[in-house]
Symmetry: C2
């Protein structure tokens, strides 16, 4: 058990933006909320998955909605916890710990906020190991945990409980509810016992966020090459293979909003090599260079500004930005055949087979 | 307590189509389902509101969705009851009786079907006294009962429970869920005690449906004028003022689908008087003749074919049809200021004040 205090939050938020791979929403507001909650209620306890009792009740939580709305329409202070409370009431039992369903973006911070508000511990793990656009794209589903029962809460305190035994249908219905809750709802779902969490979750992703954030912060402060430093650090984790794909300038950007997603591609060029083309749907999905595959989902493609190594989200890409693109291997639990069926290239309509980034040139 | 058996169903369905005032959906399939359920499980017990114990648990039930979808996509046999069972489970208590929320159209029959499937009695009352397009347009809401908690069930057995203390917001969220359940979901809501039902429900509307249906059937069999007979019969009920507005031919019809509603107007003409213009939104809302108001919501405007006195729904109107238009006074509980605020002319965007049909020429 370790504690998350005020001094940890900025690092976690920065690392979460990196793991967001272009999506997941900016954790800025969630971090402000968490700062206040921890100031008022004290630090949050964090358990390793191994520390959970076999029969502990763990609830996944976070937000469901459009990140673009989140920028203008701030969560009510009580809204995130309301979904957890509704699910606990429905289950007739208090959660022994909370878990993030998505380690990338603002949903990495939300469980810490809720934990601080409710006085529950969190688990150092999540269901995506990064950000994905759809809720059922979690290792929880891949390895047999069910999203049901599933709670949503609106800014008005309205709550809904879904009992749906198919996670893709649950996502579809929940998304419809979230839209009518103002494209911004709090969710609590995937109630699991501790033993299941140990089997189905991507472990250590909160500490990974914090380590990435701390690494970038220290590189900036120490005038070291942040990309080299990060690659060295990640080599010691289960996200072990990281590399720079290109450093260059954004020379073309096509971005559309389709079906609620930011969809498009971005071209990054420099004079010394063929341009890199990155296709995205909220998150960066695939990088190709000179017709050759360089990295593909679920491996992580991250675009950072070349100077400060600040991760850039799809909606903040601009023509002329000077960026460095990194690719990072997803952990083994996210690369099995079962996992690739749910969030591999085909799940995003890409025709490529998955090839691990370390096997690509 | 009286019983609803097989021989009662066709009359109830015919009367319900009349009370549908152009909307509410065709009760044909619901009647077939109910016929089978009663054949297998025996007749359904029906209580007058006065027969309910003060603390009896009464649950309103029926379908939520688009009638146009209902024609092609038939309910699963277990779907309607699933919403009631989900709400009973959530409340931790079995309903002592079921009640229709809408007496017009197929939702008059659904509670009888569910009652036959589950072995529960129904109450001879409902929340609309006719058909309306939105769920919160019920006397239950008008007089202070809450739709929460509110259950929906899909054809897959998926269920949701809504805890929303504002009935218009509940309708909005529930409608969104119903759309994603395939525009066809079963609902159970407005859990009330017996004393509340006696105060907030429109009484005797199932027996009224049956009486209207029987009256039309007997007129057809006996070669009597069905409109005269029906007017005489209704005079003895709380829908006491009925009259024929015009007999003529459909000479113009403008019909659009807007926001999920069938919206438009129909003109009925004969050589002896000015044409009658009826405006509709799923249901017929207002009849005007030569610029003068003849009837307006919540009073009932019904279009029947002139030969068989078969009620015609908005989607089955056609150019050239020979029709007779009737107007019927809504019962007093539907004409209070509180009721008019929820389902009077303004609720449908009409600028007219409500004038009782018996005060119009």
């Amino acid at each position: 058990m370790i504690e998350i205090g005020l001094s940890d939050l900025d690092d976690i938020a920065l690392g979460a933006t990196f793991l967001g791979t272009g999506g997941g929403g900016d954790p800025y507001i969630a971090t402000l909320m968490t700062r206040r909650a921890i100031t008022e209620n004290g630090p949050v306890q964090m358990l390793m998955p191994e520390e959970l009792d076999d029969d502990a009740l763990v609830i996944a939580c976070g937000n469901l909605g459009a990140p673009t709305v989140a920028i203008e329409k701030i969560m009510g202070a009580d809204q995130p916890a309301a979904a957890v409370l509704a699910l606990e009431k429905h289950l007739g039992r208090q959660a022994d710990a909370l878990i993030a369903f998505e380690a990338g973006g603002s949903n990495s911070m939300m469980p810490i906020y809720i934990a601080a508000m409710l006085g529950r511990p969190i688990v150092d793990a999540d269901g995506m190991g990064r950000a994905f656009p759809e809720l059922q794209m979690v290792t929880f589903s891949v390895y047999g945990a069910s999203s049901a029962p599933f709670a949503l809460a609106s800014e008005h305190g309205d709550t809904t409980i879904l009992e749906i035994d198919d996670d893709a249908r649950a996502e579809y219905i929940a998304r419809g509810i979230a839209i009518r809750m103002g494209a911004r709802s709090a969710m609590a779902s995937y109630p699991m016992d501790g033993k299941t969490v140990q089997r189905v979750a991507v472990p250590f992703t909160t500490t990974l966020c914090q380590a990435i954030g701390a690494n970038l912060r220290e590189s900036r402060a120490g005038n070291q090459d942040p990309f080299d430093e990060l690659i060295d650090m990640l080599a010691m984790t289960h996200y072990g293979h990281a590399k720079v794909l290109i450093s260059g300038t954004v020379t073309d950007l096509m971005r559309d909003t389709e079906g609620g997603y930011a969809v498009g591609k971005v071209i990054i060029s420099n004079p010394e090599e063929p341009s890199l083309e990155i296709q995205f749907q909220n998150e960066f999905l695939r990088a190709r260079q000179g017709g050759e595959l360089r990295a593909i989902v679920p491996d992580l493609v991250c675009i950072l500004d070349s100077e400060m190594a600040q991760p850039i989200t799809t909606e903040r890409l601009r023509y002329g930005q000077r960026v460095t693109v990194m690719a990072v291997s997803a952990p083994p639990i996210m690369r099995t055949d079962k996992a690739l069926a749910v969030f591999g290239p085909k799940a995003f309509g890409l025709l490529d087979d998955f090839v691990p980034v370390e096997d690509l040139d």
